[in-house]
Structures are given as C-alpha cells and as structure tokens.
C-alpha cells in the first residue's frame, strides 16, 4: 500500500494546476468573458483530458479514474467553466456499451433531479453542457443519443445544464449495458463529483482565507479573531477528510468489484457532499455582507458544489447505498 501519487500523476496534477490558474475566472465578471472561456475550452481540449476514459487498444480506458479525479479536482478548485465530468462520463458510457467514440462534443443526461442516468421518455437534463451538441441516455437499457437544442440553465454558473424534452428523438449508439457496467459507471460518476467537491472546497477556503487576511474590523484583520479562525479550521478539516475519501473512491473504481466500488464511492459521496455544502456556506459567512452579493465568487463555489452534491445522489441516497453495501439486511 502506497497511496502517494505516482510521478506521472504528480506531473498531470502540476499541468492541471498551471492550466487552470492561467485561465480560470478570477471574478464573477470573468465568467462573462467569452474570449477567456474559449481559450480555457481549447486548452482543455488540447490536453486530451476528456478522452481519459475512452477505450484504448485493450478495450479498457486510457487512464484510471485516479487520473480523471486529479483533473476534476483542479478544475473544481479553479471554478473552470468548461466541460469535463459530463464528457468523461459520456466516454465511459460509450466504452462500456462497446460504442464508437463520439463524433462531436457530447455529454450525459440525467433525470431532471440529477440523481441517476436519464431514461428515454422521462424528464431529463444534460449536465455539464457547455459546448455539447448531444447527450447520452438509456432507452430500455440500450445507449442512445439525443441532440441538445434548449437554452442552458445555470444553477451552476460554471457548468450549465440543458433540459431535454420527453419526446426528444433518440439515435441508438451502443448495446445494452449490463447491471455491473452501470454500477461501475455510477461509481466513476460519484468519484468524480467527490473530486470536484474537494477542489471546490479548496478554492472556497483559499478565497475566504485571503479575505480574512485583508478585511479589517475593530482595528484588526478578521482572520486574527478566534471565531473566524475556528470556522476556517473546521473547513480545512472537512476538506482533508473529504480528500482522503475521494482519493480512495477514485482508486476503487478500477481496482474493486463493481458493488464494492459503488459502496466505497457512496461513502465518499456522503462525506464530501455534507462537507462541500458546509465549507462553501462557511466561505460566504466569512465574507460577511459581501459574501451575499452576486459579485463575490463565494456563491459560485456554492452553486458548483450544489450541482456536484446532487449529481448521481447526494447525502441521503449515498447513505442508503452505504447501508445496502454493508449487506446483512441493513438496506
């Protein structure tokens, strides 16, 4: 057992840190800068990160879920407003269904509450839809594709989702997915949302800590007050615990049998989901009144966290999966 990142994994992380820090939005106004967004999107496309879970020569993915999680965490930390989790989950679905690689930019559709992969004929939403022309969903267990036409809806200001009409025309793209394959896919989705949440927490903590070091009240930096210090210390603790669960969940996706991978990912998701919301709320609290304005990035972190929390199951459904995974009639 050695859970340190390998030299290659550290190099991947360093590349992701550099790319994200050079092109991430540094203010709410930056979110509307289409030149920056286009540059970020092109830079991410050039890295090939969205193809990490496409099928290699042996049918397995090019890279493990750990590599995908490393990228997801850094994109979350930087509030990267470009697609990654959606296209990665789409590539995984195509690989598991034995389908050819997508022609254009593609993402996945979930039920409209984001809780599971979408089923044809039911209300659905394409997640992480920036730049995507189409989304994948299931029809009778078979993998199908629908085109995206509706305008994007921003719960998460960095990753818009796109409603899909019930009667959207679906084109078959792959064979029926096995239960095991869908379980693995869900485990990957949960692990990637955990990684995104860890990144979001790190970014929100950094934002609030920087503010606490410059904002003065009562003649002192507010970061010198224990009440503020303890809020931020608790945020660090929640983030570090989350990081350990997220790392393990990412490893488990490819290393453990499907049911164990899902139970592991669900435990991590329960932990990261609870922590993610609290940490982002703390970031708003530390900013005081400013934190409740549209111009402060704190709510952008919270909004991103809320979507990642709901994606494929938040705290409640994840705890149910943990109990089910433990067996012994606990479910």
């Amino acid at each position: 057992m050695d859970v340190r990142l390998s030299a290659e994994q550290r190099a991947l992380r360093d590349t992701a840190v550099d790319l994200v820090d050079s092109l991430r939005p540094r203010s709410v106004a930056d979110l509307g800068d289409s030149q920056r967004t286009a540059k970020l999107d092109a830079a991410v496309a050039a890295t090939g990160w969205r193809s990490l879970r496409e099928a290699g020569a042996d049918g397995g993915p090019y890279a493990s879920a750990v590599e995908a999680a490393i990228v997801a965490e850094e994109l979350g930390r930087g509030l990267a407003d470009t697609a990654f989790v959606g296209p990665t989950l789409a590539a995984e679905l195509r690989r598991l269904a034995g389908a050819a690689t997508a022609d254009g930019a593609e993402t996945v559709a979930t039920k409209s509450d984001f809780s599971a992969v979408a089923l044809a004929g039911q209300p659905a939403t394409a997640i992480d839809g920036a730049g995507a022309a189409a989304a994948l969903l299931l029809a009778g267990g078979e993998l199908v594709q629908v085109s995206l036409n509706a305008p994007a809806e921003p719960l998460d200001l960095t990753r818009p989702h796109v409603p899909i009409p019930r009667d959207a025309a679906a084109t078959p793209v792959g064979r029926t997915l096995t239960t095991d394959a869908l379980t693995k896919w869900t485990a990957l989705g949960l692990a990637l949302t955990c990684a995104d949440l860890v990144g979001v927490m790190r970014g929100a903590i950094a934002l609030a800590t920087d503010y606490a070091k410059v904002r003065r009240q009562y003649g002192a930096h507010i970061g010198s007050f224990q009440a503020v210090q303890h809020l931020l210390a608790d945020a660090v603790v929640a983030m570090e615990g989350s990081r350990s669960t997220a790392l393990h969940a990412a490893w488990a996706v490819d290393a453990l049998p499907a049911d164990d991978a899902l139970a592991t990912a669900a435990g991590a998701k329960a932990y990261c989901a609870r922590a993610g919301r609290t940490v982002c709320e703390t970031a708003i609290q530390v900013h005081g009144g400013i934190g409740n304005t549209w111009e402060c990035l704190a709510h952008v972190y919270l909004r991103r966290a809320l979507l990642s929390i709901d994606l494929l199951g938040g705290v409640g459904p994840s705890l149910e999966r943990v109990l089910a995974g433990a067996g012994h009639g606990l479910q």
Binding site: M1, D2, V3, R4, L5, S6, Q9, V66, I205, T209, A212, K213, A220, H221, G223, S224, F225, Q226, V228, Q229, H230, L232, A233, D234, V236, V237, E240, G241, R243, S244, T245, L247, H248, W251, A252, A255, G267, A270, Y271, L319, E320, V322, L323, A326, G327, H328, G329, L330
Partner: protein
C-alpha cells in the same frame, strides 16, 4: 497510487489474520470496562511476542523497522477480527526516540515496546491543562538524583505503571517553556502516591492522578538535555494527535461492526434515524481508515509531526464522537446493558485529551492557513 497490499504486505496480513483466529483475548472495549485495562498488559505482550507490535519502530528497540503502513494493516486486521486495539504507546516511544540520548534509547525503549515495563505520562496538572508550560511540579538536584515534588492529573494507566515520564521545572529563572526537563521516575517508591479517577462512564482503571512528594529520580534518567522537556512534550503531543500512531481506527471499526450486527440482527427494531446514525458512523470510520493510509504513505517521504497532526486529531475526534452518537442511538436505549451508553460517554473526552479541539483549531488556523495569531 495503490491502496492494495504488496505481496509482502499480503503475506503479513494473512499471517496476522491466522494468529488472531487463535489468539483473540476477546476483551471488552477499552472505553467501557475496567476488565480491558486489567488485561491490557497481557495483550500487549502477546502481540509483541508474536511479532505484531511496533511494526514501524527501529529494530534496535524491539520494533520491526517496516514502513508505517504496516501499522494500518495491524489496525485493519484487529478490527476485522473483533480483537482489542493495540496499546497506544507510539507517542511515548516517539518522544524518547527523538529526544533521548543513544544510551537512554537503548536502556529504556525495549522494555516499553515489549510491554514488560509499564509507563504512564505525567504532563498535565490541576492548574496546567491546555497551558502546559505553566506546570508547577519541580525537580531539584540533590547529589546524583533529582527530587520531584508536584501533582499530576489525567495520568493514563497510573495504577498499573512501573514508570512515569514526568515533566518538571528544573529552572525557575527562565521563561516557562525553557525551564522544563523530562525524567523517568519510578512509580514504586515511597514519595509517589497515585489514586484512580472515576470517569463519567464509571471506569476507574484508565485515568489517575499522581502526587510526587520528595520522589527521587537518578540524574541519569533525565530524557534529553536540561530544559529540553518542552520540546519533548511537543513531540509527544504531536504524535498523540495522529490516529496512525494511536491505532484508534481499530477501536472505532470494531464498535461500528458490532452496532451494524445489532441492527442487522433485528432490523424491525430500528427506525430511520438509527439507521442514519449507523450509516454516518460507517462513513466516518471508513474515512479515518483511508485518511490514515494517506498520512502513513506520506511518511514514506520521511515527513511527520507537522501541524497536520491537528487536522488529524480533529478528524479522529469527529469520528469517535460520531460513533458515540451511533452507539447512543442504536444501542444506548437497552435497559439491561449500559455498554453503549458508556462508549458514548467516553467519546466526549476525545475533544479534550491530547489537546482540546479549541486549541487544535487555533493551530490549524495559524500554522496551516497562516492566519495571524489572536
């Protein structure tokens, strides 16, 4: 990045699992019964004699010189077997390893590691808790000895101990944290009186208080240089904050396993709130297990003892108190068995012992986030 066992680790795990199948003493949880404390020495010696104690400590002192991750494997298997956790001595060993001379290390540590010499730790005093540097116990040189006078409290295992690691003031003329030295003091001498403390859950064998009234310690038993006591104490408490050093993961997972078995045994007796508390205890204890793997792996680079210890202490506390809440919710209501109530009550001490959670948060804020001291 790999959470799975290497071939050597897998072999070790299988050997330990086989040994535990025949050698689990089946003691009750340390937090709920004095029976555990009565049997702890024998359990320590059995683990040591079978080659399953002190995995990551140097060979010269009776350890095995293996990577720290072997400690995580021991905790895993103890929990899986439902065996008692390993005795938590790591912080004492680390303090003496880092600050004792070569001679002191070779003379004192083998007996601690093999479980034949029982030690307790005389740090806290009635007027020196979080503010440890204000301690009042004195050690005055008298020929080849020091004479120790003072009152120590929260002294774990004082009733069973042969020796006490005492922090005492040797130089009242310098700033408080510079005038403290550390000694090994025999508990078996006329100038030492100890009495048990009865804790909120009724146990009496874990904590005690000790009165030193003219007790003597040879000058040769000073650990570190005169005035090095504060630094030794900081080494000890930083390791006392590390769940990997303490082996508490095994204790938490054992309790969670037993609670899960209760609910699984008669599912209709437990409602949604109880199942939710149980699920959180599973999630939290599993988090700590993975977190320890992460920290122990980081030690392969040689790092340890930094301010991350405060993060780990706060995580460990959160887990212990979450498991405590599950114990109260799932098992606490049983009228004929107060084991779970006791476990819950014991969990409240975790946010105090080894440095309160308030102090840990101060350390995280100033030393990790770089916020200005208040």
């Amino acid at each position: 990045m790999d959470f799975s066992d290497s071939p050597a680790e897998a072999e070790f795990r299988a050997r330990l699992r086989g040994w535990l199948a025949d050698n689990n003493p089946g003691l009750p949880a340390s937090s709920t019964s004095d029976e555990y404390w009565a049997g702890q020495a024998a359990w320590h010696q059995a683990l040591y004699d079978a080659g399953f104690f002190g995995m990551s400590w140097p060979v010269e002192i009776g350890g095995h010189g293996l990577p720290s991750v072997y400690e995580a494997i021991v905790d895993d298997e103890l929990a899986t077997a439902g065996a008692p956790p390993r005795p938590s001595l790591g912080y004492l060993v680390q303090g003496i390893l880092h600050h004792g001379s070569e001679g002191i290390r070779r003379r004192l540590l083998p007996g601690i590691v093999n479980g034949r010499d029982r030690w307790c730790q005389g740090f806290s005093e009635p007027e020196a808790g979080s503010d440890l540097a204000s301690l009042r116990t004195t050690a005055v040189r008298d020929g080849e000895d020091y004479v120790i006078t003072g009152h120590k409290v929260w002294t774990s295992y004082s009733d069973a101990a042969d020796w006490c690691l005492v922090l005492a003031r040797t130089d009242p003329g310098v700033p408080p944290h510079k005038g403290i030295s550390a000694f090994r003091v025999s508990m078996r001498q006329p100038g030492v009186q100890q009495q048990p403390l009865r804790m909120i859950n009724g146990i009496t064998r874990e904590f005690g208080e000790v009165l030193f009234d003219g007790a003597r310690a040879p000058a040769a038993d000073m650990i570190g240089e005169p005035g090095e006591g504060w630094r030794l104490a900081m080494t000890v408490v930083s390791h006392e904050r590390e769940p990997g050093e303490l082996g508490y993961v095994a204790r938490y997972r054992k309790a969670v396993k037993e609670l899960a078995a209760l609910v699984a045994g008669s599912p209709d007796d437990y409602g949604p709130e109880q199942r939710r508390e149980l699920a959180w205890a599973m999630v939290e204890s599993e988090m700590l297990r993975q977190h320890v793997c992460r920290r122990l792996s980081d030690r392969l680079d040689g790092s340890s003892g930094g301010p991350e210890g405060s993060v780990d202490k706060l995580l460990m506390t959160q887990v212990e108190q979450c498991v405590g809440h599950a114990a109260l919710s799932v098992g606490g209501a049983a009228a004929d068995d107060d084991t779970w109530l006791k476990l819950y009550l014991y969990s409240r001490a975790q946010s105090v012992m080894g440095g309160t959670s308030q102090i840990q948060r101060n350390l995280v804020a100033t030393r990790i986030l770089g916020l200005p001291a208040s």
